[in-house]
């Protein structure tokens, strides 16, 4: 029994490792590629620690423009979908019971409808409307921002509605009735009773809506028109050529997400603490009691460590220059390439030797000893004029004439094995 439970624990641990490895591994790998110097994002081989990709990212007009469009569309979507979601949730509590199931199916359907279909239907519908109204193709109904906001709100409002429904279930309608009995108007009751109660839900629905809008691709790709969002730009970059500046962007987004999530977690912890102590949240939030918060609050510890890490990274990035390392890598690559060239040349020479070997053999056996005795001598010659030796001598003049670095190729040509071989017989 005991070994059994131990086995189970080991299995569970292994499973958790695999699962979270699958979940987080890709993100971690991607983050690290942002700091590697090769121009194709990869982790292996690790060449140089570099921050240049962040510079590349910061100077990328299209990305910056995409972020701007994304923010505009995000704000529009948040406003529209929070309003529609709230109205939809309130309507659900009041609608004729026989209609309720149908109504619920209709407003929940956009979550299940493929985003592609939503994008297409929005595009087609407003296109037809604008034709019906006789509007030109440049009109508002063809505007990418307008269409994208509508297309995204269609399903994001459903997410918001789900958040509101969950909160509304705990709402005591007696409160509104009491307010109305005491002479408040409907609008007053709504503003002073319901809205304050819904405030946390409105906050989380807004955040949810903004994030969903920011990362949406399927719907936006049909509706964006002349206003590509960040996601669209990213998709185009990823599809038609990758460089690590995308990893750098991913890294920034991941760090922001982690910080946001941890901050939220800390806030919730404090709230719970406050509730447990019977004090209002503001009391706990107001007083600064670091040690108590830190004890038994891993999220806070991680957040602080992250901030420290981030700050030190930024400091390091300012003082660190990867140039020397990059030179080293370039030098190493050059050496490897030279090795390869050398190998190829040797091979070629060997081939030529073999051919010459075979050449005299064809002419008969009487002379056959002569080439055999000659060939070691030729080999010695070959060694003297070995391209490897040349390469060793070649870099020597290089520093004197750095301008003629392409001339190295010319040099190499002059001393290339073929030419040498042509010269060698003459000297013979």
């Amino acid at each position: 029994m005991k070994t059994n439970s131990l086995l189970l624990k080991v299995l569970l641990g292994a499973y958790l490792v695999v699962f979270f490895g699958y979940l987080l591994g890709p993100l971690i790998v991607m983050s690290f590629t942002a700091f590697n110097s090769p121009s194709f994002p990869k982790l292996t081989p690790w060449e140089c620690l570099t921050f240049e990709w962040f510079d590349v990212l910061a100077n990328d007009e299209r990305i910056l423009n995409g972020i701007e469009n994304s923010i505009i569309i995000g704000i529009g979507t948040v406003i529209l979908s929070v309003i529609m979601g709230l109205a939809g949730a309130l309507m659900l509590t009041q609608i004729w019971p026989k209609l309720r199931a149908t109504y619920y199916t209709i407003v929940i359907a956009p979550i299940l409808i493929p985003g592609v279909v939503l994008g297409i239907s929005t595009l087609v519908f407003w296109d037809r409307i604008s034709i019906m109204l006789g509007m030109s193709t440049g009109g508002i109904l063809h505007n990418g921002i307008f269409l994208t906001i509508l297309g995204q709100s269609t399903f994001i409002a459903s997410y918001c509605m789900l958040v509101f429904i969950a909160r509304l279930q705990r709402f005591d309608t007696g409160l509104t009735e009491a307010a109305l009995d005491l002479g408040a108007t409907h609008v007053q009751a709504f503003r002073k009773i319901l809205l304050p109660f819904m405030k946390p839900a409105i906050g989380s629905a807004a955040v949810l809506a903004f994030l969903a809008s920011f990362e949406n691709y399927n719907t936006t790709t049909f509706t964006f028109g002349k206003y590509p969002t960040l996601t669209i730009e990213l998709a185009q970059k990823v599809r038609y050529g990758i460089n690590p500046s995308i990893s750098a962007l991913a890294f920034i987004i991941i760090v922001l997400t982690v910080i946001g999530a941890l901050a939220h977690e800390i806030y919730r912890r404090r709230q719970q603490l406050a509730l447990a102590n019977g004090a209002p949240v503001s009391a706990v939030a107001g007083s600064f009691q670091l040690p108590k918060i830190l004890s038994g609050n891993p999220a806070a510890i991680i957040l602080i460590l992250l901030t420290l890490g981030g700050a030190s990274t930024i400091w390091f990035a300012q003082s660190y220059s990867p140039d020397s390392c990059k030179m080293d890598v370039r030098e190493q690559k050059r050496l490897i390439q030279e090795e390869r060239i050398k190998a190829i040349r040797e091979k070629r020479q060997l081939n030529i030797q073999q051919k010459q070997h075979q050449g005299p053999d064809v002419f008969g056996g009487s002379k056959s000893t002569a080439p055999a005795t000659q060939s070691p001598g030729k080999g010695a010659f070959g060694n003297v004029f070995d391209p490897g030796n040349l390469d060793k001598s070649a870099p020597a003049p290089k520093p004197e004439k750095p301008v003629t670095s392409p001339g190295k190729g010319a040099f190499g040509d002059v001393f290339s094995p073929q030419n040498l071989d042509k010269a060698a017989p003459k000297e013979d």
């Binding site: 499973y15 699962f19 979270f20 979940l23 987080l24 890709p26 993100l27 790998v29 991607m30 990869k42 982790l43 292996t44 309003i83 529609m84 109205a87 939809g88 309507m91 009041q94 004729w96 199931a101 619920y104 209709i106 407003v107 929940i108 979550i111 299940l112 409808i113 493929p114 985003g115 592609v116 279909v117 939503l118 297409i120 239907s121 087609v124 519908f125 037809r128 034709i131 459903s158 108007t185 409907h186 609008v187 994030l211 990362e215 691709y217 399927n218 790709t221 960040l230 996601t231 998709a235 990758i242 995308i246 962007l249 991913a250 987004i253 982690v258 999530a261 977690e265 891993p298 999220a299």
Partner: protein, 309 residues
């Protein structure tokens, strides 16, 4: 009569201003954003492909040529059915089904573990770790898989250095990257519904079953899974619909020889320039997904109201 009474009640309860505001907002959403665009897409899919000036003219009549095209192919083609598009369609649905099963198998144990362990800081952190990948852009997640599975990607380089393989394996062409990426993209939509349901399962039921001598798989089969069925079906529905309708992951991770049905739709809208045909294909995708999901729900006896909880 009854309807009029209901409407009057509604305005008495909410007041005229607020009541009409709510009504307008809901009607705008339901009618203008949800229902009419879908109907207009359906209508559009039965139209001829015409240049804009001729729309609404005498040539603008109803036709089923686009649906015919999907089934039979271009007129005069050498095969009697549109093998390419239908094949892609079938493969998309099959692959989406496969991805759903993969996610379910991966998620169920974790959802059970999280749901049955009592709170605690460690569990909260695990849940946070689960949520974080979901807020990273879909494109970036697919991009990460390309870094890992690419020809000079992490896995190939590692296996090459360890000497397991002598030539890089083309994961992209073999669609391994695509399935891994799709499963990854929607994994959270599987785990949270199941987790939420299992969290509310009374532990005493499991204890009781164990005391009665049930083996662990029997406990799951007879107690946990029947209880978690709404969560499981809701998770499966969402993962299936979203994978079948995915566009980003297939575009980035898909092999050169394997298309996703959404990519064909995309092509008709962009490079193909035949909107009605794209709309017809989108309608087919939508209808097929709805039929599959409804029949699965019928099979497992769950209601649509359970979805989205």
């Amino acid at each position: 009569m009854k309807a009029a009474q209901l409407i009057r009640d509604y305005f008495v309860k909410n007041g005229l201003g607020l009541g009409s505001f709510l009504l307008v907002a809901v009607l705008f959403w339901v009618v203008i954003l949800i229902v009419l665009p879908q109907l207009s897409m359906l209508d559009f899919s039965f139209r001829h492909h015409l240049p804009p000036p001729e729309m609404g003219g005498p040539k603008d009549t109803y036709t089923i040529e686009h649906y015919k095209y999907l089934v039979l192919g271009a007129p005069g083609a050498d095969t009697s059915y549109n093998v390419v598009d239908l094949g892609v369609f079938g493969r998309t649905l099959l692959a989406a089904f496969f991805v759903t099963i993969l996610d379910l198998v991966l998620c169920y144990p974790l959802a059970y573990y999280l749901g049955q362990s009592r709170g605690g800081g460690a569990i909260r952190i695990l849940v946070l770790l689960l949520i974080i990948p979901y807020w990273i852009n879909e494109i970036l997640r697919a991009f990460a898989f390309r870094i890992i599975f690419g020809e000079s990607g992490l896995i190939n380089e590692m296996m090459l250095t360890m000497g397991l393989i002598s030539d890089p394996v083309d994961f992209i062409r073999a669609n391994v990257a695509l399935y891994a990426g799709l499963g990854y993209a929607y994994i959270l939509l599987m785990i949270f519904p199941i987790y939420n349901v299992i969290e509310s399962l009374d532990r005493n039921q499991i204890e009781a079953a164990r005391d009665m001598g049930a083996s662990w798989w029997r406990i799951h089969w007879r107690v946990v899974i029947p209880y978690a069925k709404p969560g499981i079906s809701s998770g499966c529905t969402m993962v299936f619909m979203l994978s079948a309708g995915a566009l980003a992951a297939p575009q980035i991770l898909g092999g050169p020889s394997s298309l996703w049905f959404t990519q064909i739709i995309y092509q008709w809208f962009n490079t193909g320039g035949n909107w009605p045909r794209g709309a017809a294909f989108a309608v087919v995708l939508l209808v097929a997904c709805i039929i599959i999901v409804l029949s699965m729900m019928r099979l497992f006896k769950v209601k649509i109201g359970d979805i989205g909880k």
